[in-house]
Subunit: 335 residues, 2 copies
């Protein structure tokens, strides 16, 4: 992040940008085009909607970020339908299949791992249902990609994106988006895409290894470094580490009397969401842990006070989780 910026229309930058995008294709497990944009993941959601939906879109909602898909699509004046499932439960392929039996959509939007509830939706199974329907598949992989395997090509994911600060464990500031040929084709016929998130314009520049507009060069440098580190760790080990982290986190939480909020069998390997079964003052807990160097989260939106979320994605080690629960113990003893 501290590397001084270089001109983004220079040969050196093009080389860096090309290398980063190639490394990202490996992480995304795709041959698709990769765009990197100064933006949060919300911008990537909007990009997916603006480029891939002319009228009718289906949003699968079981948490705050699924709801965001729908909010964005409505604010882009699209004709939005939703499949809604109780927060904390996973979206099952059957309910999607039922919806698709009598309805046709240009695109279907899913959040892979719902950061608000700690639920990992069954991506593979839903992907199969979406594929049969012929709709474009738009996937928010913010809290999964870079931490666990997301098979973009094998699952025919047309638009898949993440941000820098989750599985890739970098500071926030950029969104990374893979876009299929089908999505690019669709984009050509969709109007009112604007400029900033326009896949056609992004593609034109990407062919020449250039960003569309001024990039966050600091993030590109950092991303390059981090992708080298991930290559060294190997994705298979990185994924394994995340499953170990979540297993440990769940079991330590349970040993303190906390229950898991997320539906059994669908717990995310990247974050754990506990019910606040101990009726703790979550604000006080967060403040105490912060004073010990740990940042965790309370409930998101309507779950405020009702859940405790512990993120363990990126570069965390088992030891970090143990130390976190030591501090948690200290908090309990002080009550």
């Amino acid at each position: 992040m501290a590397t001084p910026p270089i001109g983004h229309r220079t040969k050196d930058f093009r080389k860096l940008f090309c290398g980063v995008r190639k490394k990202l294709q490996k992480i995304f497990r795709t041959q698709n085009e990769i765009f990197i944009i100064p933006s949060s993941a919300t911008g990537a959601m909007e990009a997916a909607i603006r480029n891939c939906v002319d009228k009718k879109v289906l949003c699968l909602v079981n948490g705050a970020f699924g709801k965001r898909w729908a909010d964005i699509a409505r604010l882009c004046e699209k004709d939005v339908e939703t499949v809604e499932v109780e927060w904390g439960k996973a979206i099952k392929p059957a309910i999607v299949e039922r919806k698709l039996r009598h309805n046709k959509f240009e695109a279907i939007c899913l959040v892979h791992v719902e950061t608000s509830t700690g639920v990992m939706n069954p991506l593979n199974e839903i992907a199969a249902v979406v594929k049969k329907s012929g709709a474009l598949f738009l996937v928010d992989a913010v809290s999964s990609l870079g931490a666990i395997r997301v098979e973009v090509d094998k699952l025919y994911i047309d638009v898949c994106f993440t941000a820098s600060q989750k599985g890739l464990a970098l500071p926030p500031g950029i969104a990374i988006i893979s876009v299929s040929e089908r999505a690019l084709n669709k984009s050509r016929s969709v109007k009112s895409k604007g400029f900033y998130f326009n896949f056609e314009l992004l593609l034109e520049r990407a062919k020449n290894d250039e960003p569309l507009t001024t990039p966050s060069t600091s993030h590109i440098f950092a991303l390059n470094k981090q992708l080298e580190k991930i290559e060294k760790e190997k994705m298979i080990n990185r994924e394994k580490r995340h499953y170990q982290l979540s297993k440990l986190c769940r079991s330590l939480g349970k040993s303190k009397g906390l229950e898991i909020f997320s539906e059994k069998g669908f717990e995310a390997p990247t974050l754990t969401c506990f019910k606040n079964t101990l009726n703790l003052n979550t604000n006080a807990l967060l403040k105490f842990l912060d004073s010990r160097g740990f940042t965790i989260s309370g409930g998101y939106g309507p779950l405020k006070g009702k859940t405790i979320r512990i993120g363990h994605m990126g570069d965390y080690k088992l030891k970090d989780i143990k130390l976190l629960f030591d501090a948690f113990d200290e908090f309990l003893k002080g009550l």
Copy 2:
């Protein structure tokens, strides 16, 4: 940039964010709301168009970034008219006044300093004409704000924006936008604004000193530091320094046989654009200077090979310009 990120929904971040926005209001010379978004300045342009124009917009074009205003507005499906002036010439208030005599627009878009031609458009005089017309005034102040004074409130600029990497001399990655009450009101009635650049949503969060979506915390830390430095230098001295830099740059260029490309009396204090009167191979020149540690630019778009642009905004000192021309001399001698 290297400060480790903190949670953006924490009290510490809100305090930082509030302080930065207050310092920015001083630089923008405004009481208006300030939004900071992970985005390039192009995104800020799109934000201005999407929020402030329902149908009819006038774009004033005398270079690549004026043209971008028009491109963006067209891609957002707005009804766009332009006033076009030869690249290298300034837009005079009279031509705008003529256009407005028989046409009504919801908004009028101007680039203050055209980075592609080194021309500074007469902002004060155009502002007076726009004010009379009742249209919203949207100003790209990318290559001026933070280096020289831009009087947002005094000139009734409804949307004014810059990016981090120009007058503020930080790495690129964020856009900073001031938005007037009138622009916020207009925004409420405009449809298809989307989510990411939506002034209504940004405002709702800003009231609580929060960003709408995950911010680039690294840039916010850096911006805070840099704004403290600017307060110490004082804007009046910073502006003076930029006028000295441009004067020196022009005179050293002329002494080497280069003519100024930009119209006399409208030369930007932040960058100098020379005609390539010596018929130099600009690629070779740029490469040579780069090897000496200086990054300058050739002609932008249709001016490729025809102009040489030297940016001298941000934290540059007179000595830097002298050293640059020493290297330029070295290049000439080597021909």
